[in-house]
């Protein structure tokens, strides 16, 4: 097992280099000159040239990428062009916000979606089942940023239960901070819950049809015991994969949700840095998010192998 983990981790290195290269390429062709963004459009050409040369923008693309990669390997991802601060520091300040939203959203989606899926499977083809199926499709079809705006409209503007905008860090005041996380996490989690509901339902139905469940029933066990004691664990197994794989989807969704709620997360940082042509920030933030995503996918694969002995990895 350890050998597999090490091999898979080594396999991540070329993927991360390729991700960096693609991001670097995109940033190189993006319209707009960082020197002009920093000094203004009416800056004298000589100053612009000097700044470009300071930033290394006058060197060939591959040379710039080589230097960036060399520094990145040593842990230096450069400074923000706009804020003149180390990029790594900026990302680490904002990563907890994004991860908190994603974790809360995952919990919300698994609890709601799991429960709804099981209920739907147990009441198959009855009104409850039809209602849950339609509701889960509605959840899947809703743009999360629109749901976010609706939640703001209802819970912040109309009923004033949650604060409208702003942010308090988790380590400053936990209770107040959580208030700022509730709506964005629900906006992101509810759309995913639709997906989880469908998956849990279908997996539960499949499990309930298995021989060992019939054996449990024929032993005279109560339905409650059959479902909770025998079927549930097997039926929830595919959820591990889906939750793991969807965390990346949540990371993408967080970009938009952070914009809606004005939360200082990595997603918002990336969008702002793109508009400010702050390339080192975009480059590093995308690398972090993509690395996180690939590592999570790897962990999902491995955890699945641990949970289901039939899955063997070569």
């Amino acid at each position: 097992m350890l050998q597999i983990v090490i091999l898979r981790l080594l396999g991540l290195i070329p993927v991360l280099i390729a991700i960096s290269f693609i991001t670097f390429l995109l940033m190189a062709i993006i319209p707009g000159d960082p020197a002009v963004v920093m000094l203004g459009a009416d800056a004298p050409p000589a100053s612009l040239d000097r700044l470009r040369s300071q930033l290394g923008l006058d060197r060939p693309f591959l040379e710039r990428f080589g230097w960036w990669l060399w520094n990145a390997v040593r842990g230096d991802l450069g400074n923000s062009l706009y804020h003149q601060r180390p990029v790594v520091e900026m990302i680490f300040n904002r990563l907890p916000v994004t991860l908190t939203i994603c974790v809360f959203a995952t919990v919300i989606s698994v609890v709601l979606g799991g429960a709804a899926g099981i209920l739907s499977a147990l009441k198959r083809n009855r009104p409850t089942d039809h209602a849950v199926r339609v509701l889960s499709l509605v959840g899947l079809s809703m743009p999360e940023f629109w749901l976010g705006l609706l939640l703001i409209l209802l819970f912040s503007v109309h009923w004033q239960i949650f604060p409208l905008t702003g942010y308090v860090a988790l380590n400053v005041d936990l209770l107040r901070s959580l208030q700022y996380y509730v709506l964005p996490s629900f906006a992101l989690g509810l759309t995913l819950a639709g997906f989880i509901t469908r998956l849990t339902r279908s997996s539960m139905l499949e499990t309930l049809g298995q021989d060992y469940v019939r054996t449990a029933r024929s032993k005279g066990l109560r339905e409650r015991r059959v479902v909770l004691g025998h079927a549930l664990a097997t039926a929830l197994l595919p959820l591990v994969t889906v939750v793991g794989l969807n965390f990346g989807r949540l990371l993408g969704g967080a970009v938009v949700i952070e914009t809606v709620f004005n939360l200082p997360g990595v997603g918002r940082l990336i969008v702002l840095a793109i508009t400010q042509r702050d390339f080192p920030v975009v480059q590093a933030a995308v690398l972090y998010v993509a690395a996180l995503y690939t590592i999570l996918n790897l962990l999902t694969d491995l955890s699945y192998a641990l949970l289901d002995p039939r899955v063997r990895y070569q």
Binding site: V15, A18, I19, I22, T23, L26, M27, I29, I30, P31, N125, R133, V134, L137, V138, L140, S141, M142, P143, F145, W146, L149, L150, I152, L153, V157, R201, S202, L205, E206, G248, R249, L251, G252, G253, V255, V256, T259, V260, I270, V271, I274, T275, V282, V286, V289, A290, Y293, T294
Partner: protein, 274 residues
């Protein structure tokens, strides 16, 4: 197949939503009550009324007409994006699965790299790099969905490739291209079509998200995402600006998903009822 689809009430509702959506898009100039770009400061932030069915925005533009015209961008992006990704991804997957070996390895590693980005993030990066506008969103979504189709198609090819009738065609001396196009291709179309309906609805949502972030069609051209985004600052004063375009997105995507579900039941009977 149509008969079986018609028996499922949810697919019929889905189909009705899709028809309404298509009519709205095609007949936008006939159905619109105002010029979607026409400014009228005197009528700014008006609530829904008989004059302006869905109210007006901060420049006094008619939201109903803007939403109708905005649907055109969503449809164009999703249709062209899905078709491009379906055919190019399908072809790459077919080649990869049929060829195997080095070609397969190379193509799939390339797909792995593209799949290592969260989809929306890659789309944001590509459309930012190519400049705002409809074409760059289409290209961005194409690049995001191409490896997804390729993967799916390759997996389907690998399943079919070992079956007896394909082996039989080979042993009769059929060329690889003939085996791929005549024998393997037609038998893997079903899962691709089912998945295409899922991706189509995802593209509508992604287009809205990109426009919402300001990467889509530049204002004053209406798109569902940018109308929604413009209404964000007026949620207290004029919630209708954001609420209605969102409802249109919801119902069109819901229609496609409902119909897609019905399609899955018909094309893949193993899963039906689940």
């Amino acid at each position: 197949m149509i008969k079986r689809l018609a028996r499922s009430p949810l697919s019929v509702i889905g189909a009705l939503f899709i028809v309404a959506f298509v009519v709205m898009t095609v007949a936008a100039p006939l159905l619109a009550t105002h010029d979607p770009m026409e400014l009228s400061i005197a009528e700014r932030l008006q609530p829904p009324s008989t004059e302006h069915f869905l109210g007006t925005d901060v420049y006094g533009r008619d939201i109903y007409s803007r939403v109708l015209y905005g649907s055109r961008i969503s449809v164009r992006v999703a249709v062209i994006g899905s078709l491009l990704a379906f055919f190019s991804g399908g072809l790459l997957g077919l080649v990869s699965g049929m060829a195997g070996g080095r070609v397969d390895n190379l193509l799939m590693r390339f797909a792995d790299v593209l799949l290592a980005f969260p989809g929306l993030l890659l789309a944001i990066g590509i459309s930012a790099a190519l400049g705002t506008g409809e074409t760059s969103i289409i290209l961005a979504l194409w690049i995001v969905y191409l490896p997804r189709f390729a993967r799916l198609c390759r997996a389907a090819v690998l399943q079919v490739k070992g079956l007896d009738y394909v082996q039989a065609a080979r042993s009769m001396g059929a060329r690889s291209s003939r085996v791929a196009l005549r024998h393997v291709g037609p038998n893997i179309v079903s899962p691709l079509i089912i998945q295409a309906s899922v991706y189509f609805s995802e593209m509508i949502l992604a287009e809205a998200a990109l426009s919402f972030l300001g990467l889509g069609a530049p204002p004053p051209t209406p798109s569902w995402g940018n109308i929604l985004s413009e209404g964000r600052d007026f949620m207290r004063l004029a919630p209708w600006i954001s609420v209605f375009p969102g409802l249109f997105i919801l119902f069109s995507v819901l229609g496609i998903n409902l119909f897609g579900d019905g399609l899955r039941d018909v094309l893949d009977p193993r899963d039906s009822g689940r």
